[in-house]
Symmetry: C2
Subunit: 266 residues, 2 copies
């Protein structure tokens, strides 16, 4: 893990880093600097059994690790709950170079949109390919965070749309993740990493937009049904892909953070 | 409104009454007795503009106005929020005589269950007929409560299953209702009072059980879609008709009570 910058404001430290070429950001409480593994039990928060909870934030398609919604959610995890949060640029997003595949996608989706043709199947195919690259990147970052004493406590994943296309196979593969918020995506057939859905077993919240223009309702319902978790709740509201109500986002954040440490933020 | 008994415990007054032959129960805060219209502004709660919020509680099929779940919900509305709550016996339920139609239903549903045959269409048909009788009864009780100074503030409706089969046409017809919790029922064709769904316009929560053995999932989703409210949220959880998680029931209660008076119980 290569640290590239550190800034702090209003009780939150923001560290930019790179792991194996993937740029990310880690947010931490300013009052509780993470210790090196050689200095355990440094400060009261460090005494929590198993370590401080960590929230992984997956961004949506076309966004990046410091999109406003990501940063605001990360800061709330830190200031309201005392947790750490981390976000990465997904392949082809943010500071990362676009591969030939990414460039082709950007061109072709523009052409489809200009022609007024449906893009959901195309988006599903591309994002599934992207998720195959993103899952091992997230796992490498979790390993790197462990080496600096973060992510040793409960780990939650929050990500909608592309954030779920990545997050669902990640949660299926990664036993460190113990709770999740998913949504705004659907089961799209054999090319999709959502075939991992049945292997997801953690408590989760799933957000669905009733009038989602990018995700067919039946596909989203089928994905919710396919998720293997015993504890899973679907929340559906009227409106399109971008119109998730603020109260629903806030509720999903509370769900995740309280799942990671019961009673937190109460 | 004929008062038949009054008891009180733990800060809650419980008054049994009869309106036009329909028996009901009204729960009120003990510290704030409702006044006759001739004695306005008696006590601090009475100063609320428009009057104290009132929650209408519709019970499920085979239950009645003082089933444990109904009484507990009513008492929480009173003790946590200072509201009034009211429940009625639905036609053919509780203390009410069964009509020939009700008796036929009870016999035939027993036969269907014994034969292992599907009962959902049968239940839908019977409960729709029952709702046609129940809606004017609820409206008469609202009128009678108004005459004793209750139900003049915001009115909410909470009822699942049969409670929704009654509550949806009631909310469609009754402008005094300003928020609602529905669920565990579905759109079942032209014989159903849920054709009123499109005329419901109040903010609402809709509960769905993913593995509901009495309500086909598609029918419940279609009903949610048909409800005319701009603000409506579907919450779906795994499990059968009787297995709504406790956290979901509690959340629906908070939703309704806070809708009736923003900031209440916070």
């Amino acid at each position: 893990m290569h640290l590239t910058s550190e800034t702090g404001s209003d009780g939150v430290v923001q560290r930019r880093f790179v792991v194996d070429g993937v740029p990310g950001v880690l947010w931490l409480p300013a009052s509780s600097e993470p210790s090196e593994p050689s200095e355990p039990s440094d400060g009261p928060e460090r005494s929590e059994p198993g370590g401080r909870p960590l929230v992984l934030l997956g961004h949506g398609g076309g966004q990046h690790k410091t999109a406003p919604g990501v940063v605001e959610r990360a800061r709330r995890c830190v200031t309201r709950y005392g947790y750490a949060a981390v976000a990465l640029d997904a392949p082809g997003h943010g500071e990362r170079n676009r591969s030939a595949q990414d460039e082709r996608f950007a061109t072709e989706i523009g052409e489809l949109l200009a022609a007024g043709r449906p893009i959901s199947a195309w988006v599903a195919r591309h994002t599934a390919a992207l998720a195959e690259r993103a899952v091992p990147e997230w796992r490498a970052v979790l390993d790197a965070l462990g080496a600096i004493g973060e992510g040793l406590g409960p780990v939650g994943y929050w990500g909608l749309s592309l954030g779920s296309v990545v997050g669902i196979p990640l949660a299926a593969a990664e036993p460190r993740i113990t709770a999740a918020v998913f949504g705004l995506t659907g089961l799209t057939g054999q090319t999709s990493p959502t075939e991992a859905a049945g292997r997801v077993g953690v408590p989760l919240r799933f957000l669905l937009q009733w009038d989602d223009e990018l995700v067919p309702r039946e596909a989203a319902l089928a994905l919710f049904g396919a998720l293997g978790s015993r504890e899973k709740t679907l929340h559906a509201n009227p409106g399109g892909h971008e119109a998730v109500p603020d109260f629903e986002l806030a509720s999903s954040e509370r769900f995740l953070c309280r799942r990671l440490r019961p009673g937190a933020g109460a």
